[in-house]
Amino acid sequence: MALKVVCYINQFFAGLGGEDMAHTGPCIERKAVGPAMQIDNLLGGDGRVAGTVICGDSYYGEHIEEAREKCIEYIRDMSPDLFFAGPAFNAGRYGVACGDIAAAVAQKLGIPCVTGMYSENPGVELYRSKTFIVKTVDSARGMKQALEKMVELGKKLVSNEPLRPADEEGYFHRGIRKNYFHERNGAQRAVDMLLRKISEEDYRTEYEMPVFKRIKPAEPVKDLSKATVALVTSGGIVPRGNPDRIRVSSAKTYGKYNISGIEDLTPEIFESVHGGYDRVWANEDPDVVLPVDVLREMEREGVFGKLYDYVFTTTGTGTAVANAERFGREIGEQLKKDGVDAVILTST
């Protein structure tokens, strides 16, 4: 049976124009347009491109929900078996649009979706876990190879053929680990890896660590005697009984607790629920993790202006980076709104 394929491209690849046309809203052509024509050729007898959804990059970026909804409507209407977006190479807005629409189509229509991007396209980090993103070079000079890889992977996905590891298939891994029995045990593989590392040969870790972002340091506080300082902790210090049921590990939430009028954190009123360290000391005196007692002394002495009335707490053990980042953003917004000047954050 011939596959029915729908493609997504931007205004530029549709031949509508460059930046001057980037505000164009979504539309549909019931035929193959631009790179979709090459996809149509590559499919050969296996399928045909039934339609091409086109949207300006700025429009998609600025009206992401409306754009997604409208595009999905067009795509659903054609009931395709397979969906391609891009490739976007290193175009940031286009990459985000391709990633977003491919992820949404995969989720809403349940069909295989493939896009293509250069490793530094921001769309890769945002959408790699939600759609297949084939690795491309950074510009359209790699169009032919990109489309060949996308079509090959797309066909494979439709036929339910088992996939080899992401690296071998040529797409960005989606953070999925498959369990299987290896003929060599972990110790043997680790020693092999170490020997390769020592002899400066290529080796590949079996457990990649997340890569964290860097930010420019904030300006220092100029007049500490007038500054409001907030306390935040990932050390799991909460009011006794853990009223918000913050998880002991892999936290999905954080708590905000009023400490106005509290001079000292005693075991009668606070405790630690952190599942990643020995809580004996923290439960005898929570100040060893969340130092309210000494901060009150320093506040009275006028070392700094005021201790902010609330503390924010979570448990930082096994906590997903995405959750921790979200907590940080939400806490940051509240502190900004309340005019807090600096933060002391303790971690265990």
């Binding site: 340091p217 904030a218 220092p220 935040v232 060893v288 993790v289 907590f327 953003r329 971690s347």
Partner: protein, 78 residues
């Protein structure tokens, strides 16, 4: 969390923790090494006075950190 608070609020955030490489990895800009994982800002085994004294000393360093202009990740060791 430390990085996102600083980025969102635009205010200095000093992190006090014992495992410095983790603070470096997550992208904290101002760092003060803590005493121990289960009690980063205290040393309760040394008795109440010593415990409070070390807490005070670490917090003074934290205040020094938030008043110091920096251009890259900085560990305030003293």
């Amino acid at each position: 969390m430390v990085r996102e608070i600083e980025a969102t609020a635009g205010i200095p955030v000093v992190q006090i923790a014992t495992i410095v490489p983790i603070m470096l990895t997550v992208g904290a800009n101002r760092m003060v090494p803590g005493v121990a994982i289960p009690h980063p800002v205290g040393d309760p085994a040394e008795g109440p006075e010593a415990d409070k004294a070390v807490r005070r000393e670490i917090l003074e360093r934290a205040f020094k950190a938030i008043q110091t202009k920096i251009t890259e990740q900085t560990i305030f060791k003293s």
